[in-house]
């Protein structure tokens, strides 16, 4: 029977039954993420609902007593707001304003005296706009902009109707001048800069995230893969069995990848569930309507040529193999699982750092020597490779992928030669001081 399959089956069986592995690698993250997202989800949901409610009703204090204030109230009601209207003769004090907002709507407008007169005389009028904030969150910021936008759109509707009354066509009255933007990038013209930047930004955010996540999950097992054999006191036996040592490494790498991908899948599943259920549903019913990410969508393949795409994928696979074999090397020398896990941090931290450094690097302003250096730093170059390809720097993109491929080959060869020699057995990496047992008999 094929030694690869036999060893793989043993490995999977042991993992499936080892509560340490199951709890540490799968159940704990799931509980953690579920709890985190569950909490964040419900908290965000609440906030969004709150914001929707808050921006759905306003209090208006009328010091003006004029017809323009009446049309403002009508306008606000017409766009679906719930308006609490009261007339006063003197400007309210801050404590009165606070009290009103605590009890009623979070948005409060004060229309000062003379507002209608100003407008009638074609002098600019002003409305004071108060918003009650409690947590200074982004969602509360949304309420502020909502409060301002109601007034702004009222203002626009006035000028529009004035212009229409003057016989100006409606479309011209609203926007007499329109602009249309084009971006020139790598010799191509793209119609929608916002979409383009969004796409590239999200790719350069998602790529490192994927790399870091993959390495973090994969390292969990890769780093303890050999240490487990030592802990089970099977390491010495294993080295004497008629199974190719490269096969052992290959199986351990494969299992690490399987577990890494499975864990990533679990996270992705939870993540998607969270966004599809918890958050999106609460956006409905907001009087704001859609934020409106309009514009045509851009196909990734328009930006990145298929051959660059292949290069990127090769680079991605190489960097994964490079990191995995690096972890496996650490694992080989670790005496026990705990030592191995301690060393994971040493490997994964620079990875996370490199991956995120990519977001702050502006290749356009760097000298060529620096970009070449960057394109040769593993992980960092993976994160940068999309940018390299998008800006059409094919040679940098190629350098990035090929240097990763070279690192992968070097580490795999190193791993293989160590595993095939006695170094795999003699070299040790331990957090405990080395024990020189029976040394007194050594005739050194």
């Amino acid at each position: 029977m094929n030694a690869f399959t036999v060893f793989l089956l043993k490995e999977l069986k042991s993992i499936a039954r080892d509560p340490k592995i199951i709890i540490g690698m799968i159940i704990a993250p799931i509980i953690l993420v579920a709890a985190l997202y569950g909490f964040m989800g419900s908290a965000m949901k609440q906030q969004i609902e709150e914001a929707a409610r808050a921006s759905g009703s306003v209090t208006l204090i009328d010091l003006d007593h004029g017809n323009w204030t009446q049309s403002l109230v009508k306008y606000l009601e017409a766009i679906g707001l719930n308006v609490t209207y009261s007339q006063k003769d003197a400007a309210p004090s801050i404590s009165e304003i606070t009290e009103l907002m605590e009890e009623g709507a979070k948005i409060l407008y004060v229309v000062p005296g003379g507002f209608s007169r100003n407008l009638t005389e074609m002098t600019t009028g002003a409305v004071e706009c108060y918003v009650l904030m409690k947590s200074l969150s982004f969602i509360e910021m949304g309420v502020v902009s909502a409060a301002e936008s109601y007034i702004k759109s009222f203002s626009e509707s006035i000028s529009k109707s004035i212009l229409i009354n003057m016989g100006v066509p409606e479309s011209f009255a609203k926007y007499p001048v329109l602009s249309s933007s084009r971006v020139v990038l790598a010799g191509k013209v793209f119609g929608s800069p916002q979409t383009l930047v969004n796409l590239v930004l999200s790719l350069s955010l998602v790529m490192p995230l994927l790399v870091v996540m993959f390495i973090a999950f994969v390292s969990q097992y890769a780093v303890m893969a050999m240490a487990v054999e030592k802990e089970e006191k099977m390491f010495e036996t294993l080295l004497s069995l008629p199974i190719n040592r490269t096969t052992i490494i290959a199986v351990k790498l494969l299992v690490s990848i399987i577990i890494g991908l499975a864990t990533m899948g679990v996270y992705a599943g939870i993540f998607m569930w969270f966004f599809s259920n918890a958050v999106s549903s609460s956006f409905e019913g907001s009087p704001q309507g859609q934020a409106g990410i309009s514009g045509e969508s851009i196909n990734l393949f328009e930006l990145v040529k298929p051959e660059s795409m292949t290069l990127i994928l090769i680079g991605l696979a190489s960097v994964a193999i490079f990191m995995l074999s690096l972890l496996m090397l650490v694992s080989l020398f670790a005496e026990d699982v705990r030592t191995a896990q301690t060393f994971t941090g040493i490997v994964t931290f620079p990875v996370a750092f490199a991956a995120y450094a990519a977001m702050f690097i502006d290749i356009a302003v760097l000298p060529p020597s620096a970009t070449i250096a960057i394109s040769m730093i593993p992980v960092l170059n993976t994160a940068m490779s999309i940018k390299f390809s998008v800006v059409g720097d094919a040679s940098l993109a190629a350098l990035a992928s090929l240097s990763n491929l070279a690192y992968a080959i070097v580490t795999v060869v190193a791993l293989r030669s160590i595993v095939r020699s006695e170094r795999v057995f003699v070299a040790k990496l331990s957090l405990k001081p080395p024990r020189r047992l029976f040394k007194k008999y050594g005739s050194a």
């Binding site: 029977m1 030694a3 036999v6 060893f7 043993k10 069986k13 042991s14 039954r17 080892d18 089970e232 006191k233 099977m234 010495e236 036996t237 080295l239 004497s240 069995l241 008629p242 199974i243 190719n244 020699s421 006695e422 057995f425 003699v426 070299a427 080395p434 020189r436 047992l437 029976f438 040394k439 007194k440 008999y441 050594g442 005739s443 050194a444």
Partner: protein, 247 residues
């Protein structure tokens, strides 16, 4: 090299990377179908010699062959014809004894039916009966050692290398393990190289022995002849006579 030799060790020196000399020039020959014992106190170098033969360590100088294969040049061939039981071996604790035997059997077998026969033989040799279905985690030290000895023998290697096969076992289990070793030689013609510091056990079990002290062989031969030649009653006495030390 004569075809009747299973193992030939020639002037093997092993210096560990930390500078400790594990063995310092050891030569001996194990004949086909015999039980050969390495005896000596802790740290004498027994495990070091066995690890070199099991292709785990490489000698600093000298050479070692198992049948026609050099352990340094053809380790993969050597691994196919030996089975090695390390001194402090374990088994995968989340597998059952049965699954563990199956795992090993499959690695040594070329067909499904051969693997099944091997595994069944292992189950029989171990004498663990129904307990084989339990996880290795639940085994006592004696049960584990019996499982491991059975695993080493069931594959009918040309050479079984057993490092202290009875260490830590009570009288009953030690007797069972010794019987397994005798049976291995008698029924399947396996050559056995073992180590021990129990001189009485070795005297009973081995056809020939090598007494190792501080990395060198200080006496070699059949236990009876050694005793006669030196005019002592047992191997312990011989050891004291040769080294001036008490074991």
């Amino acid at each position: 090299m004569s075809l009747s030799n299973a193992i030939v060790v020639e002037d093997v020196v092993k210096v560990y990377p930390n500078g400790v000399r594990g063995v310092g020039g050891v030569s001996f020959t194990v004949r086909r179908g015999e039980i050969y014992g390495l005896i000596g106190p802790n740290g004498a170098g027994k495990t070091t010699v066995l690890r070199i033969l099991a292709t785990i360590l490489q000698p600093t100088s000298g050479s070692a062959r198992v049948f026609e294969y050099d352990v340094v040049k053809r380790p993969e061939e050597v691994r196919k014809i030996i089975s090695y039981l390390p001194e402090e071996a374990g088994a995968y604790k989340y597998l059952s004894g049965e699954e563990y035997l199956e795992f090993i059997a499959k690695l040594y077998s070329s067909s499904e039916s051969e693997a099944r026969e091997t595994r069944e033989l292992g189950a029989e040799i171990s004498g663990l009966g129904d307990r084989l279905r339990d996880k290795v985690r639940t085994y006592s030290k004696g049960m584990l050692r019996r499982l491991l000895v059975a695993r080493a023998i069931m594959v009918k290697p040309k050479v079984a290398i057993l490092d202290e096969p009875t260490s830590g076992l009570d009288v009953v289990n030690a007797v069972i393990v010794r019987d397994i070793i005798k049976r291995a030689v008698r029924e399947w013609g396996i050559t056995v190289l073992l180590s021990s510091h129990n001189m009485l056990e070795v005297e009973y079990l081995c056809d020939r022995i090598a007494m190792i002290h501080r990395g060198k062989i200080i006496a070699e031969g059949a236990p009876k002849e050694l005793l006669e030649d030196h005019g002592v009653d047992n191997l312990e006495e011989l050891f004291v006579r040769l080294t001036g030390e008490r074991t």
